[in-house]
Symmetry: C2
Subunit: 168 residues, 2 copies
Amino acid sequence: MPRSRATAEGLVRTLVGALRESGLRLTPQRTAVCEALARREDHPTAQTLYQELKPVVSSLSLTTVYQTLDSLVRTGTITSLGSAGDDSIHFEVNTEPHINLACLTCHRIRDLESAAVRDLEREVQAAVGSKVLSGRVVYYSECLETSIPRDCPYYPAREDAREVIHDR
Amino acid sequence: MPRSRATAEGLVRTLVGALRESGLRLTPQRTAVCEALARREDHPTAQTLYQELKPVVSSLSLTTVYQTLDSLVRTGTITSLGSAGDDSIHFEVNTEPHINLACLTCHRIRDLESAAVRDLEREVQAAVGSKVLSGRVVYYSECLETSIPRDCPYYPAREDAREVIHDR
DNA sequence: ATTACTGCAAAAGATTTGCACTAGG
DNA sequence: CCTAGTGCAAATCTTTTGCAGTAAT
């Protein structure tokens, strides 16, 4: 289900707000990154965001994308999911407890609703003295195993297919 | 709870056996990596294993450690947990469904029993058509938040202080 | 005005790869 | 034997850092 415009706009406000509240300055570059994050339905990497934004915001550097993502992670408004079989870090804007299913074929990540994950959060926090900052629940599925690549939920597994699929 | 000798020996057999059954040759280097994995109680990285084994098995290269770990992951006998706040990949020998709690201070990972995680496995497999190969449930806690480093559940970061210090 | 933020280029690291040699089976 | 496996060094690639110029507040 695609994210509604209203939701996306709310997200931008959340992200930008988080930065401002952290005492960080509101630059056009940072705003652009926040907007892209709110707009996208997938789990982009720094490179992905950079490639998307660079043509539009020519005064943008990869360094700033990394820096902004880092700041957002520290505010807790986005989450770092780690690798999805490729070797780059994917980010998650959906902070609701849920399952991430990473496809080792196309390196895309799908979100799954899950009641059990909500229990987990509680379980973990209860078991730990220190504060739990974030968590990730990632499962890996190998679409090639089906012998029918098309069975990959995100088929076709092309690197450039990212913008085509919206199954967040 | 330390791993009993009997368990550790069983583990070595499991790991070595998995390699053999994959049609891979049994070299002293691979055996050494399996033994180290079975012996350790933590979640080592390739570098950690290399540093531990190199003095003993001088004919060991980092390349081989990586290659062996990769093979083991593919057999499903060990799991890749991803980063723990440092930028290296930690491996998990315990394939039982459980929670991994990573400390962002010392970059070590603790295992937590969890009934909910077992439910998760089922939930995920049910929701997906393709085969789920592996999964990881990792939560991050920031011990520094307590302002008392000693509150880190893993403090002090003694024996493998190498893993502990580097804060990229 | 301050001084945080930015882009760029270089650095840092972790992991991978090419290759010729070595040794399992 | 035969070819998979190995070490080494170089290569890759992602993420980080140093620095001097630029702009948000």
